[in-house]
């Protein structure tokens, strides 16, 4: 029944590790996003895909790599994690420029 689901909900890992966050939507949307929300609550867009095609790749380190195997999935892989990567990562989806539906977020803590 969940519209946009992302896993895991919490992720605690050490510096230098590689981790992935998965996102799936069952709304039939054609656009999916990754946003990073830091401790100051700023929602910064990282990537967006429209029909599996990369639309936005903001100033994000190369250690972050999104992958969209199909329109319903957008995963985020992060290599060589750093302390500054600690944040809440939100996946979202929409039908073109219509309202975004957000997942519940993944709280990443790098120690």
């Amino acid at each position: 029944d969940t519209a946009v689901s992302q896993t895991p909900k919490y992720l605690v890992t050490q510096m230098g590790n590689d981790k992935s966050i998965k996102c799936e939507q069952n709304l039939g949307h054609d656009t999916m996003y990754w946003y990073k929300q830091d401790s100051k609550k700023f929602l910064k867009i990282m990537f967006s895909y429209n029909n599996k095609e990369l639309i936005i790749n903001e100033t994000v380190p190369n250690r972050f790599s999104p992958k969209s195997p199909d329109k319903a999935h957008l995963n985020l892989h992060i290599n060589s994690l750093e302390l500054g990567d600690s944040a809440v990562y939100f996946c979202a989806s929409s039908l073109s420029n219509s309202p975004l539906h957000f997942g519940n977020g993944t709280r990443l803590t790098v120690t």
């Binding site: 996003y33 609550k41 700023f42 910064k44 967006s48 429209n50 939100f90 073109s96 975004l100």
Partner: protein, 113 residues
Amino acid sequence: QQPVQSPQAVILREGEDAVINCSSSKALYSVHWYRQKHGEAPVFLMILLKGGEQKGHDKISASFNEKKQQSSLYLTASQLSYSGTYFCGTFREGSSNTGKLIFGQGTTLQVKP
């Protein structure tokens, strides 16, 4: 490129009114408003398309002035449940802007009994 919201924070008593503004330096196609409660995901409130329209949602309404490139969110007779952080998100004009929803820095609203 990021829209600018004001004020940064508001503290109200129940029943009071508030206005949150969102301004952009670029021509806008549409403005979205979202509310995020503590520890939760942002939730969509309303969307305004260019044309200067206003929209209402219970006691929350919004306007969009495309000439001034700004939108305002009006919260009347605030309730405790209105507490949270409000974000405006903007899509710039141009068909190539699909997937480019950029958020303002957020306005934290706290409603006290």
